[in-house]
Amino acid sequence: MRIFTSITLNYLPKARILARTLKDFHPDWEIDLLINDQSSNFEPENSKLLLDEELFDRIIWIDQLEIPERESWIFKHTIVELCTAVKGIYLQQLINEGIKKILYIDPDIAVFNDLSPLTDLLNNHAILLTPHLLDFTDNKRSIQDNEIAGTLRHGIFNLGFLGINAERIEGKKFAGWWEKRLLDYCYADYDKGLFTDQKWCDLIPSFFNDYFIIRDPGYDVASWNLDCRELSLNNDGMLLVNEKYPLRFYHFTGYDSGAGANAIDEFTKNNEKTIINEIWGWYHRELIANGHNEIGNFQSAYSKFENGKMITNDMRRVYKNRPDLQSKFDQPFNISNRHIDYYTWWQTNDPLAEGLDSKPEEMINHHILPSAQGEHVDFTQRQAQVYTYLLNNEKDNRSKDYKELTVESIDVDKLVKLIAFYLPQYHPIPENDEWWGKGFTEWTNVTRAVPQFPGHYQPHLPGELGFYDLRIKDVQHRQIELAKQYGIHGFSFYYYWFAGKKLLALPINQFQENRDMDFPFCLVWANENWTRRWDGLENEILISQIHTPEMDRDFIKDIEIYLQDERYIRINDRPIIIVYRLDSLPNPNRTAHIWRDYCISRHLGNPYLIAAQTFGFDDPRSVGFDAAVQFPPHNQFQDERLRITSKANIANPEYSSQIYSYARVVEHIQTFPKTPPYPLFKTAFPAWDNEPRRPGRGTVYAGSSPLLYKQWLRTISEWTLEHHSEKSRFVFINAWNEWAEGAHLEPDQKYGYAYLQATMDMLKSMFIDKNT
């Protein structure tokens, strides 16, 4: 029997354990070690010496393998991809040498008992496979981790083990096919349905006849199948799986990442005596004894350029996707003084910004610059290109989605009640005069924004309402008129109350005093400090919150006048109060208690307390609140997977923030409708971009459109219909008029009334769909 395994040098300690434990049972089996690294990387003297004394029968370096355009081929692969891709080549090479029975075994496997049944199996079959899973449980975590993530995503069979008999026709045929596929497609590219060498083997049952699936649970035990494989020891000290099958080999997957230990921890949480801990403890000690501390952190020579700089996955991907680069730089690891090398090319170009990635976003699609492929372009040149582009393409400020004011108004029952957050910072106050300069309002920031990349919608300029001033009552009248016409149910006013001191209260007071402003409303207490940076986090505090029991009482007394108002929004006669930052309240339970006591004693109704999902969030009921309201873009809306920063042609060299895809947000929301155990109100934003507040550092949700917004709103409205009773079917919109965060339903010059129209259309179509 010939065994081979494939490693980079940092895996040598693991391979040593594999070899030793295998030889304990099969001293006559030969083990080949395939090292995907450069021998020059192996410096520490003692380790080098030992390499000659290893238990391996042969040591093969990757440069001894026949690989066309080797350097270029290696460069296209990450280390994991590389170590798996060579398996096909070496298997074929062994077959060419006339070796008949061959096993591939992963280096992080250790053998615990005799493997001779494999010899018999190989006598009768061409291909031996071990599936990740042989059995299922209905445990949610197990479905998620083992069935979905482990198997459906990564492949049915675990390619930590493979047995081939090349004397049988199908064995040879498989090896040829597999080698070819791995040469061209051995990548972890989930979007394309690829996962290294492993996912390919899902095709074996279709393409080949002479395969055998090993269903003995003693083979390839690993954290992904422990759920269904119970380990025990018999009286003679033999490890058994499910009480009868000797443990043949265990796969210590995830040792270095810590994922393995995590899985074991999780698995042994309720059963501290399980033997799996002891097995991992042994492996850990063995690794240390085999030099893991000394060489386990080695970085592969192929993880770096010749000059020692790390190669990023982006560098590999771009290279992989561009034949022009492959032919230009056929020795991509090399650093040259005389010619331009790939490393220098990468540094001087900005290939990520060229939108050449495999899946360009819609927003970027329209804006690809004339490519400067392979040419040396310096940054000022690029900037000039971007600005020329902007000048030529962004002259007409009106979007194709622009909508005029309609004569219609909402004329159907609103199945959900839409509440829009309402910002009052559109009138000067002495405090803002002092902190930011005379006459400061939100418009001061809104108008200063400039685009940071092609396709970046800035500045947002108002439509019908103009740069309004809320001291003018007519503005508020018109806002309410528009909101009503398009189907908004009410406003949620930001309320700025700092230990008794009120700021920006004019609009709410004006609203409250004028009974003819006939529109439901509620308050959201913006209980964070005011700072230099508009973020409530930085040190330089302009005005701060004080949270004490006295202040809790003062606050509730202060807003009593609103809570009494018949226009105030209630759920089952309970006035709703939203708190923007629950994490700022030192004791939310206490605050809730004080407010409830007060309101009940004043016959205002037990308030319905809603926590905004902003910072440090948990089940609101655990702190005495009734419900939560989503607050995008906080929390899950900043998931890494929604990000497209690398795809934009950013013009500003100082730009330092993140660009997210609005389309991906909507897709994400539709794909993963979250239903927590506590009452939740969902929120959508029409667009979001705080460039005006943080020039060059703003977070952008690019590619927003009225259509996508409508989809988002529809998705969460449907959810609300299903999960809320009639009295509490509220859906929130962030926001009515957050102009400096690019989040406004109010008409602007680019889209006109399109977002309002989308809102009304959504309500109408939802009504029609439910009633036909």
Partner: protein, 537 residues
């Protein structure tokens, strides 16, 4: 809404480089204000040189990478985003110290065992590919004066005949079963006009000494310390001084080089050689026979999976080879303190001796009159002996926790070391001059039940005899060796509970109350506890 901070927050969360518990533990002020530790670090912590985890040294990073310091940016964020890939290191050691530990062995248990600690230290001092650094204690040989030592021997010489006793420590200073037995033996010999040389390793080890450095022993003569000597010189003393050695007794070999013992025994070839198996050290260096200090292992073949995954398995290979060498080279007379121990030893050690004997350490003289004594409620239950895991301490503790507030029971701990819990502590410091203290105290407190829950086989168990003498009803489990064996032969004196659950069930259901009443109704036998000085040779 500082999105950059939020972004940093998520970066840090995802990096796994932030240890919330560590941060709160080291920054009580943060805990006091109930702040989110990550947010605190982002806002203030890094500027105040606080560390996000034991793996990342904030101040060191800033001092080392001046460019980061000058840039005034959060060093952890820099490390996550760029530093890592630039090959910068997070702390002076360059290693992530406490990354989710792969050493998932239950440390709490094996830390109890000094042998585990010794192995840990030895493996830490060993670097792969380098020769193991000797952990031999440093002894300045030039200070050892053999002539002076011989002088001292001659001055102290009282007898014509001597025996040599071998054990792991100074039996006069240390307290334990082996030491007590040695004292008894030596006293007995003195009465027969025979003196004693006692030797033990100068350096304390919890295994055999497998090293190749010079080996030193300490020498006692009739209880007096004579000196430290290189083991190579030891035999010469007797030839040069014409001291007659009539007998050699091995009571323990821990810490010895086996080669030395073999040479010694071969030198006195025609003498009687007793090998006392006080415990199962000749079967495995972890003489408790508990795999990874967790579970009784049944002493399987040293090549078994069980020994492979055991902390002591690798050492056991060398260890058992040394014992095989000893028994192959020397005709021994093996003595165990119980029939059970002898049978077990024969089966599991695989060693062959010339002769075998069973010599119990104590015998019980049962009193003739058994008076029915019915205890009042609550029934008194005691844990007897060292409160360690191997002896069932955890099980006892669990039992007391499950029976907390049960008015039927009152729990006691009779030990030398006090533990905290729902029980009363009775300090028992048995000394050589007060050998019967445990029995007396058990009687004095009118203990009804003794829980003797050894998780691994006892060769003898003094506490069994102490408890029996005090009239206690015994509860044990099927793995406790001689204790369980005694109850099989004398089922009326106690019962064997299948496992921990069954034990707790006995108490929860109240069945134990019935059992004890029956026992006491039939007369509660008590005994005198007598040291056994039976002659062996």
């Amino acid at each position: 809404m500082l999105l950059k901070n939020l972004y940093h927050y998520f970066l840090i969360v995802r990096s796994g480089l932030f240890d919330r518990e560590f941060y709160l533990k080291n920054n009580p002020d943060v805990r006091a204000v109930d702040a989110d530790p990550i947010l605190h670090y982002i806002k203030w912590g890094w500027k105040e040189n606080r560390d996000p985890s034991s793996n990342f040294d904030t101040s060191w990073y800033l001092e080392t990478y001046e460019d980061i310091k000058n840039a005034g940016i959060n060093p952890l964020i820099h490390f996550i985003k760029l530093g890592q890939s630039e090959g910068r290191i997070p702390n002076p050691t360059g290693k992530e110290k406490d990354k989710k530990s792969n050493d998932v062995i239950n440390k709490d248990l094996s830390l109890n065992n000094p042998l585990a600690q010794q192995l840990k230290i030895q493996s830490e001092s060993k670097s792969y590919g380098k020769k193991s650094r000797s952990n031999q204690a440093y002894i300045d040989e030039s200070l050892l004066d053999i002539d002076k030592l011989i002088d001292k021997i001659n001055k102290n010489r009282l007898f014509d005949k001597y025996m040599i006793t071998i054990s792991h420590d100074n039996y006069l200073k240390e307290v334990g079963g082996v030491q007590v037995k040695l004292l008894d033996r030596i006293t007995q010999f003195k009465q027969n006009q025979m003196g004693d040389f006692h030797i033990y390793p100068t350096q304390r080890l919890f295994s055999l000494n497998h090293g190749d450095s010079p080996f030193f022993i300490d020498l006692l003569m009739d209880g007096n310390y004579i000196g430290t000597i290189n083991s190579n010189d030891f035999v010469d003393i007797f030839s040069s001084q014409k001291i007659e050695i009539s007998q050699i007794e091995i009571h323990h070999t821990m810490g010895f080089k086996m080669d030395f013992i073999i040479e010694l025994l071969q030198h006195f070839e025609s003498h009687t050689k007793l090998f006392w198996a006080h415990d199962f050290f000749s079967i495995c260096p972890n003489y408790f026979l508990m795999r990874n200090d967790r579970e009784y292992c049944n002493a399987p073949d040293v090549d078994s999976n069980a020994c492979r995954i055991c902390l002591y398995g690798e050492l056991r290979h060398k260890h058992t080879n040394e014992f095989k060498h000893l028994f192959d080279s020397i005709n021994m007379h093996v003595i165990t303190p119980s029939e059970f121990a002898l049978d077990f030893w024969k089966e599991k050690s695989g060693l062959k001796a010339e002769q075998y004997s069973v010599v119990p350490h104590t015998v019980l003289n049962w009193k003739e009159q058994n008076i029915p004594i019915i205890s009042q409620k609550p029934i008194k239950i005691a844990y007897v002996g060292h409160p360690i895991y191997q002896k069932g301490w955890h099980t006892f503790k669990k039992l007391t926790e499950t029976q907390n507030n049960n008015p039927d029971y009152r729990f006691f701990q009779f030990s030398n070391i006090e533990q905290k819990g729902n029980f009363e502590f009775i300090e028992i410091a048995v000394t050589k001059s007060n050998r019967f203290l445990m029995k007396e105290e058990l009687s004095h407190h009118q203990i009804d039940i003794a829980i003797l829950w050894s998780l691994c086989p006892e060769t003898f168990s003094f506490t069994l005899y102490e408890s029996l003498a005090a009239g206690c009803y015994i509860i044990t489990n099927p793995y406790s060796g001689n204790i369980q064996n005694f109850l099989i032969d004398n089922p009326q004196r106690g019962l064997i509970a299948e496992n921990e659950e069954a034990l707790i069930q006995l108490f929860s259901s109240g069945k134990i109350i019935e059992a004890v009443k029956n026992y006491q109704n039939n007369g509660r036998p008590t005994a005198d506890f007598v040291i056994n000085n039976e002659k062996i040779v």
